[in-house]
Amino acid sequence: QQKAKFQANVHSLTDLCWTKCITGKISSTTIDRSEESCLVNCVNRFIDSQKAIVGQLDVMGGRT
């Protein structure tokens, strides 16, 4: 069940980061360097962002 959660996260991250990073026409079967670094940064910044939000919610006293 944790594996299912992991897979669901990878699916939604790939969806989001694909839309953000693979913006041109599809001409090559391989991801180029700048696309790859965009994908990796996208994953890491998304997790940073989530942590920042959760941290801030804690500071605010866990309201909601």
């Binding site: 996208c42 910044r45 998304f46 962002s49 939000i53 959760v54 801030q56 919610l57």
Partner: protein, 55 residues
């Protein structure tokens, strides 16, 4: 509050981090905090309007 966190992250990531770089800049961090508070306020406004309407 799981869904609220997910929604905030979805919306604020989109607004504040259009081009993800090698680390979170301080401008991006500030934007996230600001956006989060704004989203929660929007949630309250919507919630209140919805309650008023359906009761």
């Amino acid at each position: 509050a799981r869904t609220l966190i997910e929604k905030i992250n979805e919306k604020c990531f989109e607004k504040c981090i259009p081009k993800p770089g090698g680390s979170l800049s301080s401008g991006e961090s500030t934007c996230l905090t600001t956006c989060m508070q704004k989203y929660m306020q929007a949630w309250n406004v919507v919630s209140q309007a919805y309650i008023t309407r359906i009761k």
